[in-house]
């Protein structure tokens, strides 16, 4: 059982010594109790320290992005940065509206496609398939998470875009639709697997009660199982959304990277992440351009934090009612 050792890593010394102390502890009961409570306290402190550490990382990142990003506004006005659609670094014009809009539009479009699809796949996995198929499908879905985004991007560029081009007859094919399809494939496993887990966690008695009242499977799933699993589904949607918001390497290969407003499905455009990754290698360090890119990174973080708070708030209300 080598795997059993893994969880102990966090408490390597305390855990092992505790084991030893238990073996040889027939004698002094008092010191043993003191020791145990000492270990307990130490363990708790280690845990708290880790949790705080995770938060610290987020704050150092926010600080890093914000500190550099804020310098943008020495040369660019707030209004220009947030509402201008002119992003021309050659002429020192830094309006980020196109990218902010693009990010939100792309994320929403991805969610519109992927959430219903993932929900159906989760229902398929949890309610309808025979056990052997479940056991085969679940690891495979997990596997899809591990395929490098470069590979998804490359397939998007060489398979998906020519396909879109021949189906719709557009000249280029790049744009938010192509990006949303690639992202859907990337977030599908995440959303459907977590939803699947939370649907499985709905107590069987709920379903039994529903069937006993004469409901069909459709009614049971839609009116009983999904509402009961709502909190888990929300969490799945947050995670999927976070991944869609932050995905870079795949998006940059299919979105076209042109600073123009995404007002059509097949217009090459750009989002926050793709613009950062396209331009950060070529940017002079002490320039408004560089600061503006860091500001965009900061905004990306803020957008995802806001979305998480909003979803949490909706979820909180749902739980209370």
């Amino acid at each position: 059982m080598s795997m059993m050792e893994v969880p102990n890593l966090g408490t390597v010394y305390s855990g092992e010594e505790l084991g030893r102390s238990l073996e040889g502890s027939s004698g002094k009961a008092f010191s043993r109790r003191a020791r145990l409570s000492f270990y307990n306290r130490t363990f708790k402190i280690v845990c708290i320290a880790s949790a705080v550490f995770v938060c610290l990382i987020l704050f150092s990142i926010l600080l890093l992005m914000g500190r550099t990003g804020i310098l943008t506004f020495e040369t660019v006005s707030l209004k220009t940065f947030f509402f201008s659609t002119e992003w021309v670094p050659e002429n020192e014009q830094y309006g980020a509206f196109i990218f902010i809009f693009g990010t939100i539009a792309l994320t929403l479009l991805t969610m519109v496609i992927s959430v219903p699809l993932s929900l159906i796949i989760a229902i398929f996995l949890s309610e309808m398939t025979p056990a052997w198929l479940k056991n085969a499908l679940r690891p495979v879905l997990d596997l899809l998470v591990g395929i490098p985004s470069v590979v998804y991007g490359f397939l998007g560029m060489t398979v998906l875009i020519p396909m879109l081009r021949s189906v719709t007859g557009t000249t280029l094919g790049d744009g938010i639709l192509a990006a949303a399809i690639v992202l859907t494939i990337m977030v599908l496993p995440t959303i459907s697997r977590i939803t699947d887990d939370s649907i499985v966690a709905v107590p069987k008695k709920f379903r039994d009660a529903s069937y006993a009242l004469g409901s069909t499977r459709f009614q049971t799933v839609v009116r009983v199982v999904i509402p009961a699993a709502k909190s888990g589904i929300m969490y799945a949607v947050i995670l999927g959304m976070a991944r869609a918001l932050g995905e870079t390497m795949a998006v940059v290969m299919v979105i076209g990277n042109t600073p123009q407003l995404a007002d059509a499905l097949f217009k090459p455009t750009s989002v926050l992440t793709s613009n950062i990754v396209m331009q950060i290698p070529n940017v002079p360090f002490d320039s408004a351009w560089n600061y503006a890119l860091y500001m965009m990174g900061f905004i990306l973080l803020v957008i995802s934090l806001i979305m998480i708070v909003v979803v949490r708030a909706i979820q909180g209300r749902g739980v209370k009612s």
Partner: protein, 303 residues
Amino acid sequence: MSTGKPSANAISGSHPFAARRSMNQLTNKLFTGIVWLIGICTILFIIALLYTILQKGLPQLDWGFLYGEPSEIEEGGGIGPVLFNSFYVLFISLIISIPLGMASGIYLAEFAPANKFIAFIRICVEGLASVPSIIFGLFGIVLFVESLDLGLTVIGAAISLAFLNLPVLTRVTEEAIRSVPQEMKQASFALGSTHLQTIRRVLIPVALNGIITGICLVAGRAFGESAVIILTGGVTSSGVMWDFNPLDPGATLAVHLWYVQSEAIVPDARLIAEKSAAVLVFIVLMINIVFRVPMWLNARKMR
């Protein structure tokens, strides 16, 4: 929590409800049909996707490719050192992130009082999960390359990767421990265990399945991650196999795949990219299977 309107099924044969009933049966059939259709489409799609990735590369794999050194000029370059680096970086990053992630997950699930501060920490963790990997890369540069002046190293890449993995591990551990039935915990306390003993002997073993699923997800994602490592580990490897020095340059297989796909000028770049992608996917599959074996064993033991 029941169906709002009781359906007519129960009163079989009663005429006033017959129309309604057949409607219900119809929607039900339609629903089942659609779900099966989409389910089967998904399965076919996944098979097609894996086939596209594996079919080009996997048949042409040989030991020379897996073990050989990358070549810039001649055909037939291998991926030995970068493949080794992949495992090495993954190993170090897991050593760092698993204890930290689990400890903070345990804190959130077990010790944390339900107040505003904890809600805040939880939002932080989720927020960190949504940070794009390129930003972790920039963070890694500032930390390891600029402040500590280490250059591009295995250790820098591994730690940056560990930061990337922390939030997911934290959340997964928290969820897994929360889903352990209260009765088990209470039984443990009733037997006089301390909190630490309960966590170590009861909660973690029971929650292990969930935690291992989380580790699988994280390991897979880390294995395929390139943006972070290009910035913190570089695009070179030390060029020799079994180089355990953590201060050597740390390009991994995913980085090599990116490099071959975007800059390399060897004549067989496309082939190397296909083979590397196949190896990557195959290894992620293996990670998923290998990590799950103890899980299945554990599940059998629990029964």
